[in-house]
């Protein structure tokens, strides 16, 4: 049995099935919309979540609106 895929979502280590996409990672994070995603410091548009295959060690950032100055 192959090892699961280990990625980092907002710096937390997460194990996903081999072949998981960014859409799977987003679903795992259970975020309330709206939010945006980046993988390894590269923005990934919403429409590309399902096609974006994750690699071992990928660093995923999912961020949402907050107050700011």
């Amino acid at each position: 049995m192959s090892k699961p895929l280990q990625v980092f979502i907002n710096q937390q280590a997460v194990e996903l099935p081999i072949g998981a996409s960014l859409a799977d990672a987003v679903q795992h994070a259970k975020l309330e919309p709206p939010f945006a995603a980046a993988v390894n410091l590269q923005f990934v548009p919403k429409q590309q979540y399902a096609q974006h295959a994750l690699q071992h060690g990928d660093k995923i950032e999912l961020i949402s609106p907050i107050t700011g100055g």
């Binding site: 709206p34 945006a36 980046a38 410091l41 999912l62 961020i63 949402s64 609106p65 100055g69």
Partner: protein, 264 residues
Amino acid sequence: MSTSTDTLVLYGQHFSSRLLLGTSRYPSPQILLDAIALAQPAMLTASLRRQTASPEASQSFWHLLRDAQVPVLPNTAGCHSIQEAVTTAEMAREVFETDWIKLELIGDDYTLQPDTLNLPEAASRLIKSGFKVLPYCTEDLVLCQRLVDVGCQAVMPWAAPIGTGKGPTNPHALRTLRERLNVPLIVDAGLGLPSHACQVMEWGFDAVLLNTAVALSQDPVRMARAFADAVNAGRAAFLAGAMQAQESAQPSTPVMGTPFWHQA
């Protein structure tokens, strides 16, 4: 020019207000909403962060922004590299559905001084990607000129470090900047009093961006209105043209016909 037709123009877009307001550090969401209602700002700044244990806060703020019906200016606060700033801007464009971005690229965490060496490159990349970039920068003339050179149609020099409320710490440099650059200049950061805002508007700055001075006042709603009035007063004074200061007293009441006249 009457003040009613005197609009702020940024990247070809007209704004009736010359006050941009931050949304952070208010005592409550309702107080923020009330401050917005009284100040009638041109834009509201917002940011992006990882969702915390209470995602309701983000949801609540999102709905507040929608209810306020004021254009949103997302920022790249906290970014320390060009790539971080570019990626954050791209994420903000998708979330807030706007090409506007307040470019913050921090070079020193203690003073929150912008990374002046990398700011033009970051601005250039964003402009080439279709963003309307409002860069938070220092009052350095050459830096601001470089930002204009790479396509920024407005720049936002600080008056003093973010959140200090000190007011303009380098008036000479700010006034020199105003004399030398023809693009809209927005004073961003470091203002603490309405008189600071009025002062820079009298010098010919086009707008001010505030947050802490309003949010941390004893009565943010009243202070928001005070700043809006100060910005309008300063702008009107600039358009009116101030008198030249004189070295000696000049009687304002005519001397001719003074009763009981005597030579001192």
